[in-house]
Symmetry: C2
Subunit: 536 residues, 2 copies
């Protein structure tokens, strides 16, 4: 029943020979629809969220397929990293950059980098070392140093989607931007880390290799960011220069999508990290390009990117749920069920410790740099941040497949690693995920919370009717107009001392960047052009 | 340099082994961007249009690649029918159904079916028979009856994209809807016809087989239409029932896209014509589903579908341009250049005759059924319709590849057929295409014409600011609000006697369909819901 989605039909049109793959494809699309519908229906319940729904539907389908194929297979699709890293991950990360509240993100930039990059490295170190010492005590001697480092990278990749569905962007802007920002930087860091490990000869480590490793890491980080920024600026410049006075929504949208994708492909071309590139391309595009296009284009890109990202996420969880029941793998592991459980619980424990080991110290460090008391992270907030990054998800799965899926069915060690990863992902997503909503209500009680849950728009993007109907000046970034009128965030904005870096950046932006690349208030007046109706 | 876009990278992330394919992919995306930008810049010129621009850029790139690879290859991508029939064609056809002016389409339904289905069959018969008699005189005896029928189907598939870019939907609504509608029905008919030919044993034809063939054709046509309508209605029903009072733009958009795609896949599942299904699914979705979603969703779906379709079209022409320079094929044919030219010009001549043979007689037939003089098709209009369908494009190419691309390099006949198809496509698109704008200006002179050319939005979708900002009742279908206030179309609407079928359909629609499936004015009032702000 397994198919490669890249070549679904071997023949044209109605008389296709590969009828089974059409059946699979239909089933899969129908399941995606089911996930969306059921996820919407379950939105109001206390425990569930979209990820868990998709996982559960995937598991149920897996069971049904297992029964109908008499235990031969549980999958509709063969997992391919290509599918994940080329088609599913880029839209998710790009959308993250595109929808992030830039003001909050850059205000907390240092803390986010601290958590996302330094924190991930700490977590990586603890999990790698912990795995090495514990597993060597358990006589799992087949694992070499490269495997331990890979385990560290795999299990330091967090999945904060669940938490973001529960946190409220307007009530807890600080927490939301920290969790969100950390999640993105963490994704990028762990993939860069994983790639760096894969490409280095790790059989004998000395200080010069370690230094080279750090140098390589920084090189990747900085160049990838620069490439993303440059591609974003290029798109802003092209659209601004070409479409002066004459707008064409479809061409603008097509150009934005193509250039976003091209930033990812260019990063691959130069052996850089596509994830970081596409993330910063998203930020730049939402800061400049997005303001140079028609209002229809704005609404379209906003929701098209969010929808792509949403479908990609549901796709991944649905897939992981189905793949979890691969019978061959479990039969290899089933000889030693005790060892398998031991192995997975040790990994889960290491994940818990590894995250605690950087969230609390780094929070204290971050608090030291802040003067205002209410800007500091309270212990309850630190707990939420800690909890928010405990889930392991699609990135972990994809990295594990990449490292261990070769000759998987023949090799005991590899089967063991994959099943352990699946166990950790399933357990953390379902058990930790189910506890998230109640935990956050307990730690951050809010009278508005219940009201918000019953209303709409669970994922990051917001409805666009308000910015379209009012023609106010307040639309600084994409969403800050929803932020500014709220007394809580307004007060916060006034009482906190303006970050000097941010201040000089704004001056530079207004003096040099926006006149060239466009942006709010810097799009020239064209009579009849919809872009400018809201500005004049 | 050739790659299969379904499996672009063999390894993860930055350290991919297949670096050449990344280079190709980057180049291809960059070329797409270039086509869009240059197409926009050349829009105001008298001769060019987007298709010709993409073809020209493709040809130039092909030359450059030929030179850099020293004559080995001219392509960045291997043409795959899968890519065309699964990823590129469905969005184009779905968008055609989604954006069609339904009132005009259904008012001229009989004429469109007459041209699209009966006309294509006539054209198919003439080209097949003509090819048989002429080529048998030329001693091309390798061709069998199946080949002649395939030639008929391949060269009766029109490509009216060029013409639609030039015709004005508001000035000449009748002509526009006829050319547009005929193009879509023709696409579907020729693919259905081609599939029917492929699956039948044509070595001995008698009356019972011919009858079976006609039965099969009608069966495909009717069931495919029904399936499309049912899927569309299902999507309307689901969204209407589920989202009562609680709207989520991303989920709505995702559901619409997934269900549109599923209609295509379901048709494949039941061995029906996906093209017809997805076209009627598009019509039903724009009539019911589209009215049940939020305003953001409406703008997003409208432009997202149009953009997808636009990119797919540019993609196809860019590809055909590059593929036209495949050196291997031409070297096989180059032994007999005279014969090759003869062959292609005969095919072109047959295309011209085949189209003339049904446009003028069927126009007269259609005129007989109409009472009002100004509803009848004048000779100049008939000429425009004839001209509009002379171009051969992507569908012809895809069908030709499907029939003749197996063992192509070894087989002389197949290489011959492919190069002839390329020649006809290139010649008709470039030469006929370049003459279209001047010809239409000559035949249908209009003072507004020049003004319109200088403004924006070349392809079918229109800007959405107007329907978003006015909260009128006039938004009957997606675009009729732009149509209704115009005196010309309003006058036409009042003076023509209301078609009785259309009248009863409206009564039925209002009494039974809209209360169940939603639609304009039948979405229940939900306080604060954006859908209803415009209706109350």
């Amino acid at each position: 029943m397994a198919i490669d989605p890249g070549s679904i039909f071997s023949k044209l049109g109605a008389f296709t020979s590969d009828h089974e793959s059409v059946v699979s494809m239909n089933l899969f699309v129908a399941l995606l629809c089911a996930c969306i519908v059921i996820g919407h229906l379950l939105e109001e319940t206390r425990w569930m969220n979209e990820s868990i729904t998709a996982l559960a539907i995937g598991l149920c389908t897996g069971v049904v397929i297992l029964l109908t194929t008499r235990g031969k297979s549980s999958r509709l699709l063969v997992f391919s990293e290509d599918l994940f890293f080329i088609y599913l991950l880029p839209p998710i990360i790009f959308n993250a950059g595109f929808q992030v509240k830039k003001k909050q993100f850059f205000r907390n930039f240092m803390t986010i980098i601290l958590f996302g990059a330094v924190g991930t490295l700490i977590s990586f170190g603890i999990i790698s070392l912990g795995a090495k010492y514990v597993f060597e005590g358990l006589n799992l001697r087949q694992l070499d140093i490269g495997d331990y480092l890979a385990i560290g990278a795999i299990f330091s990749a967090t999945d904060s989607v669940c938490t973001l569905q529960v946190l409220n962007q307007d009530e807890t802007p600080l927490l939301y931007s920290l969790v969100f920002g950390e999640g993105v930087v963490n994704d990028a860091t762990s993939v860069v880390l994983f790639n760096a490990i894969q490409s280095f000869d790790l059989s004998h480590i000395d200080s010069s290799i370690a230094l080279k490793f750090v140098g390589n890491f920084l090189y990747l980080f900085i160049l990838s960011t620069l490439l993303g920024v440059l591609t974003g600026l290029l798109s802003a410049y092209i659209i601004r220069k070409l479409y002066f006075g004459r707008h064409s929504t479809d061409r603008e949208v097509a150009l934005m999508i193509l250039m976003a994708y091209m930033s990812y492909m260019l990063a691959e071309l130069f052996y850089l990290s596509g994830i970081l590139t596409v993330f910063f391309c998203g930020i730049v595009m939402s800061h400049y390009t997005w303001h140079n296009v028609t209002e229809s284009s704005r609404v379209t890109t906003k929701h098209a990117f969010a929808t792509l990202s949403f479908v990609a996420e549901v796709f991944i969880f649905l897939y992981v749920g189905m793949d979890a029941l691969d019978i061959e793998r479990w039969s290899i592991v089933s000889n030693s069920p005790k060892k398998s459980v031991q192995f997975s619980s040790i990994l889960l424990g290491l994940v818990l410790i590894g995250r605690a080991a950087f969230v609390f110290p780094l929070s204290i460090l971050s608090n030291l740099t802040k003067k205002n008391t209410h800007e500091k992270l309270k212990f309850k907030q630190q707990l939420v941040i800690w909890w928010a990054g405990l889930m392991r998800g699609a990135v972990s799965m994809a990295l594990a497949y990449n490292k261990f899926a070769l000759f998987e069915t023949k090799d005991r060690k590899n089967a063991f690693m994959i099943t352990s990863t699946i166990t950790v992902v399933l357990f953390s997503t379902v058990v930790f995920g189910l506890m998230t909503k109640p935990l956050i209500r307990l730690l951050l009680p809010s009278p508005k919370h219940l009201v918000r849950m019953a209303s709409s728009e669970p994922t990051s993007p917001k409805s666009f009717i308000v910015p379209l109907l009012d023609n106010g000046q307040g639309t600084e970034s994409n969403q800050s107009n929803q932020n500014v009128p709220r007394p809580s965030s307004l007060r916060m904005l006034l009482t906190t001392p303006t970050n000097t870096v941010h201040y000089y950046w704004r001056k530079f932006d207004d003096a040099f960047m926006r006149p060239v690349f466009g942006g709010r208030g810097f799009v020239p007046f064209v009579p009849g052009s919809p872009t400018d109706r809201s500005n004049h």
